[in-house]
Symmetry: C2
Subunit: 425 residues, 2 copies
Amino acid sequence: MKLSEMNKDELTSFKNSVQDEYDAFKSLGLKLNMARGKPSSEQLDLSMPMLDVLSSTSELNDLDGVDVRNYGGLEGIPEARKLMGDILGVKSSEILVYGNASLKAMYDTIARSYCFGVLGSTPWCKLDKVKFLCPVPGYDRHFAITEQFGIEMINIPMTQDGPDMDMVETFVNNDESVKGIWCVPQYSNPSGISYSDETVKRFANLSPKAEDFRIFWDNAYCIHHLVDEPKCILNIMDECKNNGKEDMVYIFGSTSKVTFSGAGISAIGCSEKNLKEITDKLTKATIGYDKVNQLRHCKFFGDIDGVKQHMKKHAEILKPKFDCVISWLDKEIAPLGIGSWIEPQGGYFVSFDSQSGCAKRIVQLCKDAGVVLTGAGATYPYGKDPQDSNIRIAPSYPPVEELEKAMELFCICVKLATAEKLLAE
Amino acid sequence: MKLSEMNKDELTSFKNSVQDEYDAFKSLGLKLNMARGKPSSEQLDLSMPMLDVLSSTSELNDLDGVDVRNYGGLEGIPEARKLMGDILGVKSSEILVYGNASLKAMYDTIARSYCFGVLGSTPWCKLDKVKFLCPVPGYDRHFAITEQFGIEMINIPMTQDGPDMDMVETFVNNDESVKGIWCVPQYSNPSGISYSDETVKRFANLSPKAEDFRIFWDNAYCIHHLVDEPKCILNIMDECKNNGKEDMVYIFGSTSKVTFSGAGISAIGCSEKNLKEITDKLTKATIGYDKVNQLRHCKFFGDIDGVKQHMKKHAEILKPKFDCVISWLDKEIAPLGIGSWIEPQGGYFVSFDSQSGCAKRIVQLCKDAGVVLTGAGATYPYGKDPQDSNIRIAPSYPPVEELEKAMELFCICVKLATAEKLLAE
């Protein structure tokens, strides 16, 4: 029976029964963390052989014969540019291999635009108003960057096909202060939605009012499939090139969830014109990123096929965890009609939408019983979910046994918070 | 006989004879590069065993038991904070372990101040004028950073004891637009001068007009001695603390010239108040730097004594190269009285001062004969050496045999350029 169909007595009795379950759980003294999309130890173990591919007896030259131990090579070693290009869908010459975190690459890109503008435009710090479009729910760390730089963030609702493109086009094509949009196009963080072909085509055909508008295409999960025959999104660079608009997009990615989260390599993919501007500025900031680690990655994987094989092993570990989350939701929440979600085909999250006004309460109830979730509201700019309904579930880190417990509790908290709310109305 | 004592005929004959030597050299078709302070392959080989300390069978936990392969640990793992703190002379709690390059740490520090100010001050991008003091000759990459941000650079002459502190005090204590000074206090780049105790004490006792003035203390060569009983500079942090001015200094360093130039670890050392501001901002930019590489370094060295032992091996390789440079200058240039230099006790460079107006010509002559030096002027802000006299010699990279040839040529070029100039007067 759906909660919405219950009368007050039924609801009260339902709530009391769930409250008992909750109290029992609380007394267990759980201590679990599902706040962040962290790989599990088992996943990290997959890359341990990478530590053996370079040793004291190795030749440490790159494909061009350059000693990777020494200074130089700002754009990255050739084989790493090739590998990251193959992952992100651009040419080697369109790749800058960055440090250990694509987040820093994105941050530095915003910082550079803020300080110096984009291909000759006015530096954003000299403008009265700079705006970014933020598909919601979205990635809290994206929003934190734009917030730090005082950039006004505008919520763009996500549909099943990606961001609401009518809204995106209206803003981008008419408002000169709109300088960018945050996108996680494949297996969006957190919704798991992959952008439809039409969405990608519409992105690639934007006609920005601002010459320095850029699409920040964080393709963090482009190879992070959970299913055998994944539907991959269209190649944004190819689509942009078809329209002569290849300068409009920056593509980001990393091996943070491929090898080691703290010790991977990342990359920016962009037109050679954009790349030249980035390296012209960056050459004053560093002589180059860690080429030994680039070589280590390339020797470990060989090529893109090696990466794909490796990602299948991740999927084998992750799939049962996602199945656990979905099966609890299907079993406990679906019949009551008090929440919605999508079963993701890849990525790191399940996005759960409760009834309006319940998310904070659910997260708090979970926390009080020992399970830490991503804070309610975190998936929205400024931490403000106008509906107070979205919760990001990150199932990758805990072992399945713990996840079972955590999801059991989560469902109890959803029921309890929803019943409380309905009774208070 | 000194060139200044020669009459015109003697000078002409001298010049013709040197010209013959130069032409003979040119026909050899040399191809040597002494432009940058790059470690030699032999030096890099010293650290190859570092590649064996972590393997697929290693435990990859830090001292706190945290898995270094995963996300987190923005400040760095405890043992790396201790090690870098011991190197830079500050407490672990005053260390942020950065990425593979201290240059990027310095760049990001300027960028952060430019975008957001320093401990609540007005962001530098909102000010009409920001100035930096630049002891000259100095490090070209420092100057390139401040130039990129449009910061006006003011030359401060170097004395045998460090920068001219009367001038530094006058500017810092009276001009609110002076926001920083670039320092390489031990074995200055390029002069090799180490700051005297009095100089350090005067730095630590500055009373800046600008609350957001900071000393950028790039202690790049603090452990890079060439002699057995080195004279180390005073500890700037201790001195600042004695005066209650510990927020006034940022200290930078790295293992770029200790382990691998492209794959070392770097650090910022600063007061806990400054560190909190840095991490508060940086936490939006990255989840943390490469902790696997931090652990690799710590396991390889053990502790600061391990680092010191390792540096002695570097000195054994470098000392003969510096001796080569100095002996050529002593033999060929000193008797002619046409140049001056200091025999450095550490660091990476020999700074050569020709007669005024000769440096560009010397560098060009060397280049035409196949030996690339750091560009004349590079050791000054905006690449402008007002005397056109300073040349940075970087002897670390070529083998001694090549260096002998290069220095022979260099001395010929100094003679030729000086004779040309004297004859034209």
